[in-house]
Protein backbone atom coordinates (compact mmCIF):
# COMPACT_ATOMS: atom_id res chain seq x y z
CA UNK A 1 0.00 0.00 0.00
CA UNK A 2 1.11 3.52 -0.78
CA UNK A 3 1.50 5.57 2.37
CA UNK A 4 2.77 9.08 2.76
CA UNK A 5 2.17 12.44 4.33
CA UNK A 6 -0.38 14.48 2.46
CA UNK A 7 -1.76 17.98 2.93
CA UNK A 8 0.98 18.87 5.43
CA UNK A 9 3.99 21.14 5.08
CA UNK A 10 6.90 18.88 4.24
CA UNK A 11 9.58 21.57 4.17
CA UNK A 12 9.99 25.32 4.47
CA UNK A 13 12.48 27.22 2.34
CA UNK A 14 13.29 30.85 3.09
CA UNK A 15 16.01 33.44 2.80
CA UNK A 16 14.58 35.45 5.63
CA UNK A 17 14.90 33.18 8.71
CA UNK A 18 13.21 35.70 10.95
CA UNK A 19 9.88 34.87 9.30
CA UNK A 20 9.89 31.20 10.33
CA UNK A 21 10.27 29.52 13.67
CA UNK A 22 9.73 26.19 15.36
CA UNK A 23 7.49 23.42 14.09
CA UNK A 24 8.30 19.89 13.20
CA UNK A 25 9.25 20.26 9.57
CA UNK A 26 12.73 21.10 8.30
CA UNK A 27 13.52 24.70 7.44
CA UNK A 28 16.04 25.31 4.68
CA UNK A 29 17.73 28.68 4.73
CA UNK A 30 18.89 30.05 1.40
CA UNK A 31 21.25 32.92 0.60
CA UNK A 32 18.94 34.75 -1.74
CA UNK A 33 15.75 34.51 -3.78
CA UNK A 34 17.45 32.58 -6.55
CA UNK A 35 18.84 29.89 -4.29
CA UNK A 36 15.49 29.64 -2.55
CA UNK A 37 13.80 28.90 -5.85
CA UNK A 38 16.38 26.31 -6.74
CA UNK A 39 16.26 24.50 -3.40
CA UNK A 40 12.49 24.42 -3.40
CA UNK A 41 12.37 23.12 -6.97
CA UNK A 42 14.72 20.28 -6.08
CA UNK A 43 12.88 19.49 -2.86
CA UNK A 44 9.54 19.47 -4.64
CA UNK A 45 10.82 17.03 -7.23
CA UNK A 46 12.31 14.77 -4.57
CA UNK A 47 9.26 14.82 -2.33
CA UNK A 48 6.74 14.75 -5.16
CA UNK A 49 5.15 17.86 -3.73
CA UNK A 50 4.24 21.34 -4.87
CA UNK A 51 5.94 24.61 -4.05
CA UNK A 52 3.66 27.30 -2.66
CA UNK A 53 4.51 30.95 -2.17
CA UNK A 54 3.48 32.67 1.05
CA UNK A 55 4.50 35.97 -0.58
CA UNK A 56 6.75 36.92 2.37
CA UNK A 57 10.00 35.37 1.13
CA UNK A 58 8.88 31.98 2.44
CA UNK A 59 8.18 28.98 0.20
CA UNK A 60 6.56 25.85 1.54
CA UNK A 61 6.41 22.40 0.00
CA UNK A 62 3.17 20.51 0.31
CA UNK A 63 2.09 17.19 -1.09
CA UNK A 64 -1.52 17.08 -2.27
Amino acid sequence: MDTGLKEVILAVVTWNPAKVSGGWCPVFIAQDQKEMEKISLLLARILGGMVHDLENDVFIIVKH
Binding site: E37, S40, L41, R45, I46, G48, M50, V51
Partner: protein
Protein backbone atom coordinates in the same frame (compact mmCIF):
# COMPACT_ATOMS: atom_id res chain seq x y z
CA UNK B 1 -40.81 -27.28 -31.20
CA UNK B 2 -39.85 -25.65 -34.50
CA UNK B 3 -42.15 -22.77 -33.77
CA UNK B 4 -40.52 -22.16 -30.42
CA UNK B 5 -37.10 -22.38 -32.02
CA UNK B 6 -37.85 -19.43 -34.30
CA UNK B 7 -39.29 -17.46 -31.38
CA UNK B 8 -36.18 -18.07 -29.31
CA UNK B 9 -33.76 -17.33 -32.14
CA UNK B 10 -35.47 -14.06 -33.01
CA UNK B 11 -35.38 -12.99 -29.35
CA UNK B 12 -31.73 -13.89 -28.94
CA UNK B 13 -30.66 -12.13 -32.13
CA UNK B 14 -32.55 -8.95 -31.24
CA UNK B 15 -31.18 -8.92 -27.69
CA UNK B 16 -27.63 -9.64 -28.76
CA UNK B 17 -27.74 -6.94 -31.42
CA UNK B 18 -29.06 -4.51 -28.81
CA UNK B 19 -26.10 -5.25 -26.54
CA UNK B 20 -23.66 -4.94 -29.40
CA UNK B 21 -24.99 -1.59 -30.55
CA UNK B 22 -25.11 -0.22 -27.00
CA UNK B 23 -21.50 -1.27 -26.52
CA UNK B 24 -20.50 0.80 -29.53
CA UNK B 25 -22.73 3.75 -28.80
CA UNK B 26 -20.62 4.58 -25.80
CA UNK B 27 -18.57 7.56 -26.92
CA UNK B 28 -15.92 7.06 -24.27
CA UNK B 29 -15.31 3.73 -25.94
CA UNK B 30 -15.18 1.93 -22.68
CA UNK B 31 -14.24 -0.93 -22.49
CA UNK B 32 -11.58 -0.34 -25.10
CA UNK B 33 -9.99 -3.76 -24.90
CA UNK B 34 -11.26 -6.65 -27.01
CA UNK B 35 -11.40 -8.93 -23.99
CA UNK B 36 -13.45 -6.44 -22.01
CA UNK B 37 -15.85 -6.20 -24.93
CA UNK B 38 -16.05 -9.96 -25.23
CA UNK B 39 -17.02 -10.27 -21.57
CA UNK B 40 -19.89 -7.86 -22.08
CA UNK B 41 -21.01 -9.44 -25.33
CA UNK B 42 -21.04 -12.86 -23.69
CA UNK B 43 -23.05 -11.61 -20.75
CA UNK B 44 -25.33 -9.82 -23.20
CA UNK B 45 -25.84 -13.08 -25.07
CA UNK B 46 -26.83 -14.84 -21.87
CA UNK B 47 -29.21 -12.00 -21.04
CA UNK B 48 -30.75 -12.21 -24.51
CA UNK B 49 -31.22 -15.98 -24.16
CA UNK B 50 -32.95 -15.48 -20.82
CA UNK B 51 -35.37 -12.97 -22.28
CA UNK B 52 -36.00 -15.07 -25.37
CA UNK B 53 -36.87 -18.35 -23.63
CA UNK B 54 -39.22 -16.68 -21.16
CA UNK B 55 -42.15 -16.52 -23.62
CA UNK B 56 -42.02 -20.20 -24.74
CA UNK B 57 -41.63 -21.21 -21.08
CA UNK B 58 -44.84 -19.41 -20.17
CA UNK B 59 -46.70 -20.68 -23.24
CA UNK B 60 -45.72 -24.29 -22.68
CA UNK B 61 -46.69 -23.74 -19.73
CA UNK B 62 -43.68 -24.55 -17.60
CA UNK B 63 -43.80 -22.33 -14.54
CA UNK B 64 -40.82 -23.99 -12.89
CA UNK B 65 -38.70 -22.83 -15.83
CA UNK B 66 -40.09 -19.30 -15.46
CA UNK B 67 -39.14 -19.26 -11.78
CA UNK B 68 -35.63 -20.32 -12.65
CA UNK B 69 -35.43 -17.57 -15.26
CA UNK B 70 -36.31 -14.96 -12.66
CA UNK B 71 -33.61 -16.38 -10.41
CA UNK B 72 -31.10 -16.25 -13.23
CA UNK B 73 -31.92 -12.61 -13.93
CA UNK B 74 -30.70 -11.81 -10.43
CA UNK B 75 -27.20 -12.71 -11.53
CA UNK B 76 -26.94 -9.53 -13.54
CA UNK B 77 -26.59 -7.54 -10.37
CA UNK B 78 -23.06 -8.90 -10.30
CA UNK B 79 -22.26 -7.06 -13.51
CA UNK B 80 -22.37 -3.81 -11.60
CA UNK B 81 -20.06 -5.16 -8.90
CA UNK B 82 -17.70 -6.51 -11.52
CA UNK B 83 -17.41 -3.17 -13.32
CA UNK B 84 -17.12 -1.23 -10.09
CA UNK B 85 -14.36 -3.44 -8.74
CA UNK B 86 -12.53 -3.50 -12.03
CA UNK B 87 -12.55 0.29 -12.44
CA UNK B 88 -11.73 0.97 -8.79
CA UNK B 89 -8.68 -1.27 -9.01
CA UNK B 90 -7.46 0.50 -12.13
CA UNK B 91 -8.08 3.82 -10.43
CA UNK B 92 -5.22 3.31 -7.99
CA UNK B 93 -2.59 3.59 -10.67
CA UNK B 94 -4.12 6.50 -12.55
CA UNK B 95 -2.60 9.96 -12.55
CA UNK B 96 -5.96 11.60 -13.14
CA UNK B 97 -8.73 9.64 -11.51
CA UNK B 98 -12.26 9.06 -12.67
CA UNK B 99 -13.64 9.50 -9.19
CA UNK B 100 -16.05 7.16 -7.43
CA UNK B 101 -19.14 9.00 -8.70
CA UNK B 102 -18.17 8.41 -12.30
CA UNK B 103 -17.32 4.76 -11.66
CA UNK B 104 -20.63 4.21 -9.93
CA UNK B 105 -22.40 5.78 -12.89
CA UNK B 106 -20.59 3.59 -15.43
CA UNK B 107 -21.21 0.43 -13.38
CA UNK B 108 -24.91 1.22 -13.12
CA UNK B 109 -25.16 1.81 -16.86
CA UNK B 110 -23.58 -1.58 -17.58
CA UNK B 111 -26.04 -3.32 -15.29
CA UNK B 112 -29.00 -1.46 -16.75
CA UNK B 113 -28.00 -2.32 -20.30
CA UNK B 114 -28.33 -6.02 -19.55
CA UNK B 115 -31.88 -5.49 -18.34
CA UNK B 116 -32.60 -3.60 -21.54
CA UNK B 117 -31.27 -6.58 -23.47
CA UNK B 118 -33.57 -8.94 -21.56
CA UNK B 119 -36.50 -6.64 -22.25
CA UNK B 120 -35.66 -6.36 -25.95
CA UNK B 121 -35.40 -10.15 -26.31
CA UNK B 122 -38.60 -10.67 -24.33
CA UNK B 123 -40.68 -8.21 -26.34
CA UNK B 124 -39.32 -9.46 -29.67
CA UNK B 125 -39.98 -13.11 -28.88
CA UNK B 126 -43.46 -12.25 -27.61
CA UNK B 127 -44.29 -10.46 -30.85
CA UNK B 128 -42.86 -13.28 -32.95
CA UNK B 129 -44.85 -15.84 -31.00
CA UNK B 130 -48.07 -13.85 -31.42
CA UNK B 131 -47.83 -12.61 -35.02
CA UNK B 132 -45.03 -14.54 -36.71
CA UNK B 133 -41.34 -14.04 -37.42
CA UNK B 134 -41.51 -11.21 -40.04
CA UNK B 135 -42.57 -8.87 -37.26
CA UNK B 136 -39.19 -9.39 -35.56
CA UNK B 137 -37.69 -7.05 -38.16
CA UNK B 138 -39.95 -4.26 -36.92
CA UNK B 139 -39.96 -4.93 -33.19
CA UNK B 140 -36.25 -5.65 -32.78
CA UNK B 141 -34.95 -2.42 -34.35
CA UNK B 142 -37.67 -0.41 -32.60
CA UNK B 143 -36.69 -1.81 -29.18
CA UNK B 144 -33.01 -1.18 -29.90
CA UNK B 145 -33.73 2.36 -31.04
CA UNK B 146 -35.80 3.05 -27.92
CA UNK B 147 -33.22 1.64 -25.55
CA UNK B 148 -30.37 3.64 -27.06
CA UNK B 149 -32.47 6.80 -27.22
CA UNK B 150 -34.15 6.61 -23.82
CA UNK B 151 -31.08 5.60 -21.89
CA UNK B 152 -28.72 8.25 -23.20
CA UNK B 153 -28.48 10.62 -20.27
CA UNK B 154 -28.02 14.36 -20.28
CA UNK B 155 -24.76 15.96 -21.28
CA UNK B 156 -23.15 18.85 -19.52
CA UNK B 157 -23.64 21.05 -22.56
CA UNK B 158 -27.40 20.88 -21.98
CA UNK B 159 -27.18 22.54 -18.59
CA UNK B 160 -24.11 24.80 -18.70
CA UNK B 161 -22.42 27.37 -20.94
CA UNK B 162 -18.72 26.86 -21.57
CA UNK B 163 -16.69 29.95 -22.47
CA UNK B 164 -12.95 30.62 -22.69
CA UNK B 165 -11.30 32.11 -19.60
CA UNK B 166 -8.09 34.11 -19.32
CA UNK B 167 -5.31 32.40 -17.35
CA UNK B 168 -3.31 34.91 -15.31
CA UNK B 169 -1.54 35.37 -11.98
CA UNK B 170 -2.46 37.62 -9.09
CA UNK B 171 0.74 37.56 -7.07
CA UNK B 172 1.32 33.85 -6.58
CA UNK B 173 -2.32 32.88 -7.13
CA UNK B 174 -3.19 31.28 -10.42
CA UNK B 175 -6.54 32.57 -11.66
CA UNK B 176 -8.90 31.75 -14.50
CA UNK B 177 -10.77 35.05 -14.92
CA UNK B 178 -11.82 35.70 -11.30
CA UNK B 179 -11.67 32.11 -10.03
CA UNK B 180 -8.73 31.23 -7.77
CA UNK B 181 -7.24 27.91 -8.87
CA UNK B 182 -4.08 27.41 -6.81
CA UNK B 183 -0.93 28.92 -5.40
CA UNK B 184 2.17 28.61 -7.57
CA UNK B 185 5.59 29.76 -6.37
CA UNK B 186 8.25 28.92 -8.90
CA UNK B 187 8.82 31.40 -11.73
CA UNK B 188 9.59 28.74 -14.34
CA UNK B 189 6.31 26.96 -13.60
CA UNK B 190 4.44 30.27 -13.81
CA UNK B 191 6.01 30.97 -17.15
CA UNK B 192 5.04 27.54 -18.47
CA UNK B 193 1.49 27.93 -17.23
CA UNK B 194 1.10 31.35 -18.87
CA UNK B 195 2.51 30.00 -22.11
CA UNK B 196 0.73 26.67 -22.38
CA UNK B 197 -2.11 26.70 -19.87
CA UNK B 198 -5.73 26.82 -21.00
CA UNK B 199 -8.61 28.10 -18.95
CA UNK B 200 -12.35 27.88 -19.39
CA UNK B 201 -15.30 29.11 -17.40
CA UNK B 202 -18.20 26.71 -16.95
CA UNK B 203 -21.35 28.69 -16.22
CA UNK B 204 -24.45 26.90 -14.95
CA UNK B 205 -27.67 27.82 -16.75
CA UNK B 206 -29.86 27.44 -13.66
CA UNK B 207 -29.87 26.40 -9.99
CA UNK B 208 -30.00 22.68 -10.79
CA UNK B 209 -26.89 22.97 -12.92
CA UNK B 210 -25.15 24.94 -10.19
CA UNK B 211 -25.71 22.09 -7.74
CA UNK B 212 -24.47 19.62 -10.33
CA UNK B 213 -21.24 21.57 -10.73
CA UNK B 214 -20.89 21.79 -6.94
CA UNK B 215 -20.39 18.03 -6.73
CA UNK B 216 -16.68 17.21 -6.64
CA UNK B 217 -17.45 13.91 -8.41
CA UNK B 218 -18.87 15.78 -11.40
CA UNK B 219 -15.80 18.04 -11.58
CA UNK B 220 -13.53 15.02 -11.43
CA UNK B 221 -15.49 13.45 -14.28
CA UNK B 222 -15.03 16.61 -16.38
CA UNK B 223 -11.29 16.62 -15.71
CA UNK B 224 -10.99 12.91 -16.43
CA UNK B 225 -12.78 13.15 -19.77
CA UNK B 226 -10.72 16.17 -20.83
CA UNK B 227 -7.43 14.57 -19.86
CA UNK B 228 -8.28 11.21 -21.43
CA UNK B 229 -8.68 12.97 -24.78
CA UNK B 230 -6.32 15.97 -24.73
CA UNK B 231 -3.70 14.57 -22.35
CA UNK B 232 -2.01 16.51 -19.56
CA UNK B 233 1.54 17.35 -18.57
CA UNK B 234 1.32 15.95 -15.06
CA UNK B 235 3.70 13.26 -13.92
CA UNK B 236 3.92 11.23 -10.72
CA UNK B 237 6.49 13.47 -9.02
CA UNK B 238 5.47 16.69 -10.73
CA UNK B 239 2.01 17.72 -9.64
CA UNK B 240 2.45 21.42 -10.47
CA UNK B 241 0.52 21.30 -13.71
CA UNK B 242 -2.39 19.32 -12.29
CA UNK B 243 -5.65 20.16 -14.05
CA UNK B 244 -8.10 21.63 -11.55
CA UNK B 245 -11.66 22.88 -11.46
CA UNK B 246 -12.57 25.39 -8.77
CA UNK B 247 -15.71 27.28 -7.94
CA UNK B 248 -16.27 31.01 -7.93
CA UNK B 249 -17.81 31.11 -4.48
CA UNK B 250 -20.14 34.07 -5.00
CA UNK B 251 -21.39 33.40 -8.48
CA UNK B 252 -21.30 29.61 -8.51
CA UNK B 253 -19.53 29.02 -11.81
CA UNK B 254 -16.44 26.88 -12.27
CA UNK B 255 -13.02 27.82 -13.52
CA UNK B 256 -11.15 24.95 -15.11
CA UNK B 257 -7.43 25.02 -15.68
CA UNK B 258 -5.37 22.50 -17.65
CA UNK B 259 -1.98 22.24 -19.32
CA UNK B 260 -2.75 19.79 -22.09
CA UNK B 261 -0.57 17.93 -24.55
CA UNK B 262 -2.93 19.06 -27.28
CA UNK B 263 -3.59 22.71 -26.53
CA UNK B 264 -6.76 23.20 -28.53
CA UNK B 265 -9.24 25.42 -26.74
CA UNK B 266 -12.18 24.81 -29.07
CA UNK B 267 -12.04 21.05 -28.64
CA UNK B 268 -11.49 21.45 -24.91
CA UNK B 269 -14.79 23.30 -24.69
CA UNK B 270 -16.50 20.77 -26.94
CA UNK B 271 -15.28 17.86 -24.80
CA UNK B 272 -16.57 19.55 -21.65
CA UNK B 273 -19.99 20.00 -23.27
CA UNK B 274 -20.09 16.28 -24.02
CA UNK B 275 -19.29 15.13 -20.47
CA UNK B 276 -22.22 13.15 -19.07
CA UNK B 277 -24.17 14.65 -16.19
CA UNK B 278 -23.64 12.03 -13.49
CA UNK B 279 -26.83 10.62 -12.02
CA UNK B 280 -25.44 10.88 -8.51
CA UNK B 281 -24.47 14.52 -8.99
CA UNK B 282 -27.52 15.80 -10.80
CA UNK B 283 -29.05 18.73 -8.97
CA UNK B 284 -32.81 18.73 -8.52
CA UNK B 285 -33.37 21.88 -6.47
CA UNK B 286 -35.85 23.33 -8.96
CA UNK B 287 -38.06 20.25 -8.65
CA UNK B 288 -38.81 21.10 -5.03
CA UNK B 289 -41.20 23.83 -3.95
CA UNK B 290 -38.73 25.66 -1.71
CA UNK B 291 -36.01 25.31 -4.32
CA UNK B 292 -38.14 27.19 -6.85
CA UNK B 293 -39.08 29.82 -4.28
CA UNK B 294 -35.48 30.36 -3.22
CA UNK B 295 -34.37 30.65 -6.82
CA UNK B 296 -36.45 33.78 -7.43
Amino acid sequence: MDKYLIVIICGIVAGFLARWIMLRSDYRHYPTHPHGQLVHLAIGFIAASLGAVAVPAIMKPDFVAVTFLVLAAQQFRDVRNMERENLSKLEETKLIRRGTDYIEGIARVFEARNYLVILTALITSLVVHRWGWPYAFVTGPLCIFLSTRLMSGKQLGDVVDVVPGRVHFQGSLLMVEDVVIMNVALPQIKEKILKEGMGVIIKPKNDDARLTLDAPGQRQAIIHDVVSILGSKVDTAEPDLMPLARKQLDKGYLGLFIVANEPDLDYLMEIIRKVPVLESARGTALKSFYGRKAAD
